[in-house]
């Protein structure tokens, strides 16, 4: 059972940095610029998903409980269709120092839903389509197979591919109807203003790490992208429990 011990410390004041939380505990609206507590912008990838909220789900002894969930249901339209949710375009850069993002997702077991062709990319990046970003740090699911990539237009991309995450099938792949929690953390200074190292955790397990090349002037935004590439029309679902982004920043040192 969860106790009252704070395990993850976040900036509580803007003087210490940024903490953005989307828990999807909100009013009924799920349209463009009204999705969730953060009023996310919704960009259709040709044909947008249908957005709805899921009613409360229990969890054994408090573990697995979901309070506030957004469900993305594919529109049943052509290959490549989906939705992108974002904050203000190019509003952020990823600086040196400690930061990260986390989120919890599930491919719900609904008739017709499947891993095949069911893709997402979540984190901070500069792409509002299924096309790979030029800049950013994201976790991607290609039909359930997980990777974490630090994208840099200036210095090249670096990808972490989990191989032994105990809660993923074969250490690599999400399972239908199972919630997985992803946490990406970065820290240090890579010499060009960006962080030095980034780490991927899957359900608390350190699934990989690598060095970052990202420059601190490469612009990104918060991003949730979901699309299908089955090769034809398909309606595929994804559930989102929360999304969090934080960055420690010293704002009082001149």
């Amino acid at each position: 059972m969860a106790d009252t011990a704070t395990r993850f410390t976040r900036p509580l004041s803007p003087l210490d940095g940024i903490r953005v939380i989307e828990d999807f505990i909100c009013n009924d609206a799920a349209d463009d610029a009204t999705v969730g507590q953060l009023d996310w912008e919704l960009d259709a990838i040709t044909t947008a998903d249908v957005e709805s909220y899921v009613t409360g789900q229990s969890g054994a002894a408090g573990i697995g409980v979901t309070n506030g969930v957004l469900r993305l249901t594919g529109a049943g339209a052509a290959d490549g269709t989906g939705s992108s949710f974002r904050s203000f375009t190019d509003g952020l850069v990823i600086n040196q120092g400690a930061g990260g993002f986390s989120f919890r997702v599930r491919y719900p077991e609904i008739t017709g839903n499947a891993l095949a062709g069911n893709n997402f990319r979540i984190g901070l990046d500069d792409s509002v389509t299924a096309t790979a970003p030029g800049s950013g740090i994201t976790v991607a699911s290609d039909a359930g197979v997980i990777t974490c990539t630090a994208w840099s237009n200036d210095h090249g991309d670096v990808t972490i591919t989990p191989t032994a995450a105990p809660t993923l099938t074969s250490g690599t792949t999400m399972t239908l109807d199972v919630w997985n929690t992803f946490r990406v953390e970065w820290d240090g200074d890579n010499g060009q203003g960006g962080p030095r190292l980034f780490y991927l955790y899957v359900d608390g397990f350190l699934a990989g790490q690598d060095f970052l090349t990202l420059d601190d002037d490469e612009e990104v935004e918060l991003k949730i992208v979901h699309w299908q590439d089955t090769g034809g029309a398909a309606s595929l679902e994804l559930d989102l429990d929360f999304f969090e982004y934080w960055q420690w920043i010293d704002r009082e040192t001149p």
Partner: protein, 235 residues
Amino acid sequence: MPYDRPQSPLDGVHWVEDFISNDSVADAALGNQRMEIVTIGNASTITNLTATDGGAIHIVTAATADGDGCVLRSFTDGLVLNGGAGGFSFRAKLVDQIASNNFRVGLDDSVTATSPTVGIWVDCDGGVISLQVDSADSSDLAIAASGVSTLTSGTTMVVATWHTFRVEWSGSNSVGGPRFVELFVDGEAAGSCLCNIDDDEEVEIKIAHWQDSGGALAVELDLDFLEYWQWIDRE
């Protein structure tokens, strides 16, 4: 005393409505969390208060018919009450009178003045305070506030006076919900009871205010904040 709350969704939920917002007090645009407004009978008038020490709203019933009021809520059935530590807190003032000035604040499944079938909430019936812990699957439990030095006779809100309410739950009952629930008023323990709620009984965050004077009457409630938290192990 500082209160520890989940700082990250990885540790649980922390939802805060402080009413430090833009000017809007319309449906789905009220407060920081843009709460839904549901009318009970005839619509109340809701305004943002000026000169507050942290944002507040003022709710006035319609003075049209007995039972008039309103409900502010989050997405219907979006939440469940699980085992483990959690709670909610809020600060309220009955502005103009005690009699017939009623509210229900917490997490429940009713969007009218009718008593919920599921939830944990603080009930104000003409100023008299109680903690309600209701389950549709099992039995309801409740405890009346008593012995609180800032309440009249230890039980009843004082007109034109802010009171701060804190409800905390902990433990795990046999059906996945919390085991113990406690009510604190202005920092003092006001009562406690057990909890029979199942962890699949759905609720939403709720503020309900209405009058039951038997006729037309405008009664006023001020709300300073509403907070909800639940510790959850998400990894």
